[in-house]
């Protein structure tokens, strides 16, 4: 029996060698500092914007960008652990905290678009015609109409929680308030199927609109502004951060040429721009 056991270990050893062998080519093919991990919100990937921008950046600089599309909250959590090099996110309050605690440096404004409140066309809470978004939220709560929240710490979720806070309502544990814990696309589909209201970024809503029964019921106003920033993960805190790559990406995304691409992106497909370039502007100037 011992001998059989020994052979088993031998086979396991061979298997491990196999495993390393499989791992080696991938290691050899990619010099470490050429890799750049970009942690970003799903809307930049789902809208297709990064599919246009990343190849240009890679060709220009020779970096290999690993785009990890997660919510803004998770992207910043990766940054806090030093597991990303550069972030492209849209959750301003959380971003300021991220900078203040020393997790990130060099926060630069990139672009904006806006959020919209969408819901069933019958509009059970009669929010259509509300002048400002907080009024619309108040009406939804007062009517007890179904509201679908992302519930995933994404930038959209942070914005939605901010609006609830503005109106002084705590929707948690309310019967009419449901959290999906999913991305924007899936949450929109659920809201459409369940005839509920939700807050969405305009880009994702535009992209999915053809499959949804969810018209825009409230829009406009500075509170619905959706601003994207690029942040470098603090290389002093995390020495493994590819700071040259992160700086190159920051410079690239606010460059004149890239900003022009952002401006025209989606014009043909959706009949309207998905993002508005903002390089060099101040956040306070937007939406005025």
């Amino acid at each position: 029996m011992r001998r059989i056991l020994k052979r088993g270990f031998l086979a396991t050893g061979i298997a491990l060698v196999f495993l390393l062998y499989a791992a080696l080519p991938a290691l050899a093919a990619l010099p470490a500092q050429k890799n750049l991990i970009l942690a970003t919100t799903t809307s930049t990937q789902d809208s297709g914007l990064l599919d246009v921008l990343i190849p240009i950046f890679e060709k220009k600089t020779g970096y290999f960008v690993k785009t990890i599309a997660v919510g803004s909250g998770q992207a910043m959590a990766m940054g806090q652990k030093g597991e990303a090099d550069v972030l492209l996110v849209h959750s301003p309050d959380a971003e300021k905290k991220f900078i203040a605690e020393g997790s990130g440096v060099n926060r630069v404004i990139v672009m904006h678009n806006d959020f919209v409140v969408v819901g069933p066309s019958v509009d059970p809470a009669a929010i259509k015609g509300s002048k400002i978004t907080p009024d619309a939220f108040r009406k939804i709560a007062a009517a007890g109409a179904l509201f679908l929240s992302r519930g995933d710490n994404s930038g959209t979720h942070a914005k939605e929680k901010g609006i609830w806070k503005t109106v002084g309502i705590n929707p948690e544990n309310q019967k009419w308030y449901q959290q999906t814990g999913l991305g924007m696309g899936q949450t929109l589909n659920i809201a459409s199927e369940k005839k509920g209201y939700t807050l969405a970024d305009r880009g994702t809503w535009l992209a999915l609109q053809k499959n949804l029964a969810l018209p825009i019921l409230n829009e406009g106003g500075p509170i619905l502004l959706n601003v994207y920033h690029v942040i470098t993960v603090n290389p002093v805190k995390w020495p493994k951060v590819n700071v040259e790559g992160a700086n190159a990406f920051s410079a690239f995304i606010v460059s004149v040429e890239t900003q022009r691409i952002i401006k025209t992106f989606g014009l043909e497909k959706y009949g309207g721009a998905l993002f508005f370039p903002d390089a060099g502007k101040k956040e306070e100037e937007l939406g005025k």
Partner: protein, 232 residues
């Protein structure tokens, strides 16, 4: 319904025009899951055979652990593999997070207990006297193990199919450790998830159909080997 018809049309369009991106994604899926299955076979059949043929204290516990492992949730595997492979994690020096290699590793972890469990049951199911008979005929122990593995060919090929089927259809771990990077670590399942969230349901359905066709052909080939008349 229209959507499904559209999806089927799209699938055939993508296959017939040999769409470069879809072809790349399909080949990567095949390569990643194939290698992961291969690794799991080497480890799984060896460990399964050893455990099946030996008696030691705590053996019941080991078997229970292996059987539990057969149901390892891929997202949990993905989570742990990610934490280990983080560049500030214990295996960070390998620098393989968000690479196809990381997906191979995670999928091998998922498939190995499946192959081990089925191999163990297959070898143990063989009549005990068979071993004595083989040894009595003067075979060495290695020859005996080889004969036993050949005898258990049918269930062992089922183990291959179960292992491969488990990993090629898996999405949770692949998206976590691979990152779904375009043209690099995007496989059929992760591409399907992304296209769904982009609202491109037709492409998502098409990718699903391609995955099913791929699985069918792999399983057809394995079944062909499995059901072949035993060579004499």
């Amino acid at each position: 319904m229209d959507l499904i018809v559209e999806g089927i049309k799209k699938a055939f369009f993508l296959i017939l025009t040999l769409d470069a991106e879809v072809l790349g994604i399909t080949l990567l899926s095949l390569k990643v899951s194939g290698l992961a299955t291969l690794i799991s076979l080497v480890i799984g059949i060896s460990v399964g055979t050893v455990v099946a043929l030996s008696r030691f204290p705590g053996r019941q516990l080991v078997v229970s652990l292996i059987n539990t492992g057969m149901g390892l949730p891929p997202v949990v595997v993905g989570l742990f593999v990610t934490i280990f492979l983080w560049r500030n994690g214990p295996l960070g020096f390998l620098e393989i997070l968000y690479t196809p290699t990381a997906i191979i590793l995670a999928q091998a972890v998922i498939a190995t207990p499946i192959v081990t469990g089925i191999s163990l049951a297959a070898i143990q199911h063989l009549p005990a006297n068979l071993r004595l008979q083989i040894l009595a005929l003067g075979a060495t122990r290695l020859q005996m193990v080889w004969i036993l593995v050949k005898e258990a060919r049918l269930p062992l090929l089922a183990a291959v199919m179960a292992g491969f089927g488990g990993v090629i259809s898996e999405v949770g771990a692949s998206i976590m450790v691979g990152g779904n990077i375009k043209g690099y670590s995007r496989v059929l399942t992760t591409a399907t998830v992304m296209e769904t969230s982009r609202g491109n349901f037709d492409i998502a359905i098409a990718l699903g159909i391609i995955l099913l066709i791929l699985s069918f052909f792999i399983n057809a080939i394995l079944t062909q080997i499995q059901q072949r008349e035993r060579p004499r």
